[in-house]
């Protein structure tokens, strides 16, 4: 009788250990996915001041649009938490498009190649942010599902595994999913 009990206890302990490892792995994956997203976000934060500098003082470029971009960027840098960062970055994404909307009217448009190059780079980075956010959300989804379903739920609460927020960046440069 004692042996059976011991066996059951061992199985439970083993099961709990495997479960815990699964939760930890899933959480680590979200960390790594977020780190990748941060790399792209930081890249964009570095590019924006450079972009603004190339057209500083050029009257042909809308100063309002550039100011909006700079302040959006500042707000995004100071934003805290994934959801808030996502919202702030959406603002940056829309602001990034504005200076370009104005530029074609400028007679010096063709001349400012560095502006064009930087702007292209910014848009490309915006795309990469969207993709990285996608991957991050996938890992979060898997992790959240793990901690909310049985048996993960049993360990998650006592061991403080909390659900993570999604990176909901409203990037309209990618076509939206069509629900057929």
């Amino acid at each position: 009788m004692g042996w059976i009990l011991l066996g059951v206890v061992l199985v439970l302990v083993l099961g709990a250990a495997l479960l815990y490892n699964g939760l930890v792995t899933a959480h680590r994956r979200t960390d790594s996915a977020w780190a990748q997203t941060e790399v792209q976000l930081r890249r964009r934060h570095e590019l924006i001041p450079k972009l603004v500098d190339t057209v500083q003082g050029d009257a042909a470029y809308e100063s309002e649009a550039l100011e909006a971009l700079t302040s959006a960027c500042a707000a995004a840098i100071t934003a805290d938490g994934v959801a808030e960062r996502a919202r702030a970055e959406s603002v940056v994404s829309s602001a990034v498009r504005l200076p370009f909307a104005e530029a074609p009217a400028s007679p010096k448009f063709e001349a400012n190649q560095s502006f064009l190059a930087l702007h292209e780079e910014l848009l490309a980075t915006g795309g990469r942010i969207a993709y990285a956010g996608l991957f991050y959300n996938d890992t979060v989804s898997r992790y959240n599902t793990k901690i909310e379903s049985i048996p993960g739920r049993l360990l998650a609460r006592p061991l403080n595994f909390r659900a993570l927020e999604y990176f909901e960046a409203d990037d309209t440069s990618r076509p939206m999913r069509v629900d057929a």
Binding site: Q40, R128, F135, P175, R177, V178, A180
Partner: protein, 245 residues
């Protein structure tokens, strides 16, 4: 499975040759060694061989920015390392993926594909190819090239396996892009396009977005529309399946 049967075949040939020539066990051993060497070599160099057979050229970033950007984005979204990119000069729109694992993979597209498909359609096709890489389908297909590409071998890979892999890759592609209409539209264009890949005229014909394996004696045309109905699910079936998502 493919490798095991290949090794068994070569060992059997070696053994029978040994029996005929009176060497017995030696024939068996030699056969075994040769088969193992061939399998390892096949596995190691499978992608390079497949690409060479198709006359694929590396796609430079400057000339194929859209191709590179799309693949880069999809790799970030899928958590994959970036494969090497190649281009094949051919009007027929087609794409293929090769390689023994995601770290040593390559994707080749025809110039026809780049010209005829728009951005979202191209993205769908590339996501399909990347799904093949991710699920190691490419390993099976390219082994088939090197192990079974000799004219006398003929068809070995079961059609049913290829069919399932193609449909799975379609679904994975959509999971990656979150945009079924992209791939659907691309497949419709491929279906309606009557041109045929010239470069895929030998053992590699089967790699082109279509499942393995095809008889080389098919006049060397690499007629992939014909092969659709032969060794894999017809495009119409794939389109219908995607529409249901």
């Amino acid at each position: 499975m493919l490798v095991v049967s290949f090794v068994a075949l070569v060992v059997a040939v070696g053994w029978s040759a040994g029996l005929v020539l009176g060497f017995g066990v030696v024939g068996l051993v030699v056969g075994g060694v040769l088969a193992t060497a061939a399998s390892v070599g096949a596995w190691w160099k499978s992608d390079a061989l497949a690409l060479a057979l198709c006359s694929a050229r590396p796609a430079d970033e400057a000339g194929h920015a859209r191709f590179h950007n799309l693949v880069e984005g999809l790799c970030i979204a899928g958590g994959l390392p970036e494969p090497r990119l190649y281009v094949v000069l051919d009007d027929a729109p087609n794409a293929m993926a090769t390689g023994r694992n995601p770290r040593h993979a390559a994707i080749a597209v025809t110039t026809g594909l780049l010209e005829k498909l728009n951005r979202v359609e191209l993205e769908g096709v590339l996501a399909h190819e990347l799904s093949h890489v991710k699920s190691y389908d490419t390993l099976v297909s390219t082994l088939a090239v090197t192990l079974v590409g000799v004219p006398t071998r003929g068809r070995l890979t079961p059609c049913a396996v290829s069919r399932r892999r193609e449909l799975l890759a379609d679904v994975s592609s959509v999971a990656l892009t979150r945009y079924p209409p992209g791939l659907i539209s691309a497949l419709e264009k491929l279906r309606d396009d009557a041109s045929v890949v010239r470069s895929g005229s030998r053992a590699t014909a089967h790699l082109w977005i279509e499942p393995p394996l095809h008889r080389v004696g098919f006049g060397g045309r690499g007629a992939w529309p014909d092969r659709l109905f032969d060794t894999g699910p017809p495009l119409d079936e794939r389109i219908t399946a995607l529409r249901e998502l």
